[in-house]
């Protein structure tokens, strides 16, 4: 038998489940104070998610997808990005979005059913949240192609779920990125569930990282509840991409501790026991243990942080609730650069209708 190709999938973890260092930390993580911003970002994300779920329950926003338990993936990923990079998120990324500079008010507007929520004031070139699962992967390839063509040292970073890896879109995009050695990084947030469909029913592949092999690109698996591992792997992939070394796929192993969205009741399809066990792996306590152990964090800091997060979230909620409804004719705005003539009577009618309504 002749073997014409062979492959290995690497797994990375720096902090184990209890927050103990399981292998020498990478440079950026050696000074624990440097990890505090990541910690703060995760706590803010969780505070925000909790509030958003509550707002949905009281009818103040629509369906919401919480990132509970997965905060390290978004925060670790975005923590490695430069402002000039372009982030292409899925819908379960509050931590990552906040770190990119998207405001909580914008996020609430979006989930509250207002398009203005995607008009990010800060990451102007980032893509809005992508709802059609996996369809943003080829956008990332296109953005990366533009960077390459213009010789810009920028990277397109796409986040998607384990379910998304079953879409042809995902595969076509990583395959094209491979052919053109594009500066793109694909981060698969494997939270083991796609609504009610468990990871095992998405693919017989042992790891999702190995999907990279089909595209001839780098693939690596990391402990997605270890923000250091996520950040390290993403930074390494970004460096490689920025240097012309081509794209990577990173599978981050985590777990969706909450329901799929506020419209979901996960007790219908998964065991409460499983969820309980997985709480022991969640990322925030793990990093806190490490920080505390390193003397970089304590009770006071923790209390202050929670108070601060709660206040920031509440401010954002107040600001969101104060945003006036858009007028009906806003649905005609930005459809085209200029409203075409045949649409003008419709716009007028919509405006008038509301006047009467």
């Amino acid at each position: 038998m002749t073997v014409v190709a062979s492959f290995e999938i690497e797994y990375l973890q720096f902090l184990d489940q209890l927050g103990r260092v399981s292998q020498p930390l990478p440079g950026f993580a050696r000074d624990p104070r440097a990890l505090v911003p990541l910690y703060r970002a995760m706590v803010l994300a969780r505070t925000f998610d909790t509030k958003a779920v509550a707002l949905q329950r009281t009818g103040q926003i629509g369906t919401y997808a919480s990132s509970l338990g997965q905060e390290a993936v978004g925060v670790g990923t975005v923590g490695a990005l430069r402002p000039e990079d372009v982030f292409l998120p899925s819908y379960r990324e509050s931590g990552g979005l906040l770190l990119r500079g998207v405001t909580m008010e914008e996020m609430l507007l979006y989930w509250g059913g207002d398009e203005r929520g995607s008009d990010f004031r800060v990451p102007r070139q980032d893509f809005p949240i992508c709802v059609p699962v996996g369809s943003q992967a080829s956008h990332a390839a296109g953005v990366a192609y533009a960077f390459m063509l213009r010789r810009q040292a920028r990277v397109a970073v796409c986040m998607l779920g384990d379910g998304a890896t079953s879409k042809g879109d995902f595969y076509e995009a990583i395959n094209f990125a491979g052919v053109r050695a594009l500066p793109a990084v694909f981060v698969v947030c494997n939270n083991e569930w796609a609504i009610s469909v468990p990871r095992a029913l998405q693919s017989a592949a042992k790891t999702l990282a190995q999907k990279a092999i089909a595209a001839g690109i780098q693939g690596v698996q990391v402990d997605g509840n270890d923000v250091i591992a996520v950040r390290f792997a993403v930074e390494r992939a970004l460096d490689q991409a920025r240097d012309g070394g081509g794209p990577s796929l990173i599978e981050a192993l985590t777990y969706r501790l909450g329901d799929h969205t506020t419209a979901d009741d996960s007790s219908r399809y998964r065991d409460a026991e499983e969820v309980k066990q997985r709480w022991a792996h969640e990322p925030i306590g793990r990093l806190r243990n490490h920080l505390v152990e390193q003397g970089a964090w304590g009770k006071n800091e923790e209390e202050a942080l929670h108070a601060e997060c709660t206040e920031r979230v509440q401010k954002a909620v107040d600001a969101y609730l104060a945003v006036p409804q858009p007028p009906p004719e806003a649905m005609f705005d930005y459809l085209f650069a200029q409203l075409p003539r045949p649409l003008q009577p419709q716009r007028t009618a919509a405006a008038q209708e509301s006047g009467h309504g």
Binding site: G113, P132, G163, G168, I195, S196, P328, M331, L343
Partner: protein, 326 residues
């Protein structure tokens, strides 16, 4: 007999047909243990097993293509696309395969499949969850397009769709899923796939609609009745095959027609009905035809969706306009 809502009626039809016909298979995302995100397939996996009720990977083109393969072997797949916002990747399989497998093999193979999908606005759903793409499907030769407007209709039409030997696109208005209940006997009686239903008789104006918009259309007819305008209301239901005879007959009597649908007007299915009226019923018209439709814009997020959906007021206004012609 207990009253059921539309989702329950759909579930009843699926269960009925799965029990009656071992070739019926249900597939899609979250149709198994979860029973569908709208609960349309609830309990089916428990009852009929994971072989006949299967969760697929998250891939809509796959769902349609696998259904084509199953159907070619004589299974009767009933595939669920979780929302029509995600149906577009499946379109290639519908247009290039499902719709023409019988035609291109001169009957050697065929494709008895149903593609179910919730559609339409009005339930405060997230982005991409509120579109109404029925016209795209109605333009495809070789498929049928069916839209129920009530629990009874959903039960009978879905049975018919599953039993039909050719592909059927079955679009379910989410806004009606739980809006009202009806007594639906689980009698296995199918409803016809090529007939409009006259749901209210009247002699002044014909209102033709389908799906969720039929609801506002009926409310408009109520309001008009208060003013003494007797509207005939037609549930088009089987867009393809379109039963123009019923519509032409009605408009022949009323001389006026207002067509109501939620999808954007431009190249929407209302245009086909108007066009046929203008071809075959023009001489009976007493007034210009009117369409009351969604605007030609991206379906807005929830804050504006009510302003997008054709309102009772817009329907009544349109009727007033056509009543001005004597």
């Amino acid at each position: 007999m207990a009253e059921v809502n539309m989702v329950q009626a759909i579930n009843m039809a699926l269960a009925h047909e799965m029990a009656r016909d071992a070739d019926v298979v249900v597939l899609g995302e979250d149709v198994g243990a979860n029973g569908g995100v709208f609960r349309a397939t609830v309990e089916l996996q428990k009852r009929f097993g994971a072989g006949r009720v299967l969760d697929t990977p998250l891939a809509e083109a796959l769902i349609a293509g696998v259904s084509v393969g199953m159907a070619a072997q004589g299974l009767k797949p009933v595939a669920e696309i979780q929302f029509t916002g995600f149906i577009y990747p499946a379109l290639d399989q519908i247009v290039n395969h499902a719709s023409r497998l019988r035609h291109r093999t001169r009957g050697r193979l065929s494709c008895p499949m149903v593609l179910r999908s919730p559609y339409g606005a009005g339930i405060h759903a997230p982005e991409h969850h509120s579109e109404s793409p029925e016209a795209m499907f109605a333009h495809i030769p070789g498929v049928r397009v069916v839209i129920p407007s009530s629990p009874l209709r959903a039960y009978g039409l879905l049975l018919a769709a599953i039993r039909d030997p050719d592909p059927v696109i079955f679009l379910e208005p989410t806004r009606l899923y739980r809006l009202f209940k009806q007594e639906v006997p689980d009698d296995g009686e199918a409803q016809p796939l090529d007939a409009c239903f006259v749901v209210r008789e009247g002699k002044d104006v014909t209102l033709a609609s389908w799906g969720a918009s039929l609801h506002e259309t009926q409310l408009a007819a109520d309001a008009l009745a208060q003013e003494g305008i007797r509207a005939e209301v037609i549930d088009v239901a089987t867009l393809k095959m379109l039963d123009m005879d019923t519509i032409l007959e009605s408009v022949g009597r009323t001389g006026r027609c207002v067509i109501v649908h939620e999808a954007p007007g431009c190249a929407g299915f209302g245009a086909e009905i108007s066009a046929q009226l203008a071809e075959r019923g023009l001489l009976n018209l007493l007034a210009p035809l009117q369409r009351v439709t969604g605007y030609d814009v991206v379906t807005p997020l929830s804050r504006l969706e009510q302003a997008f959906i054709p309102s009772v007021k817009r329907i009544v206004d349109a009727v007033h306009r056509v009543m001005e012609f004597a």
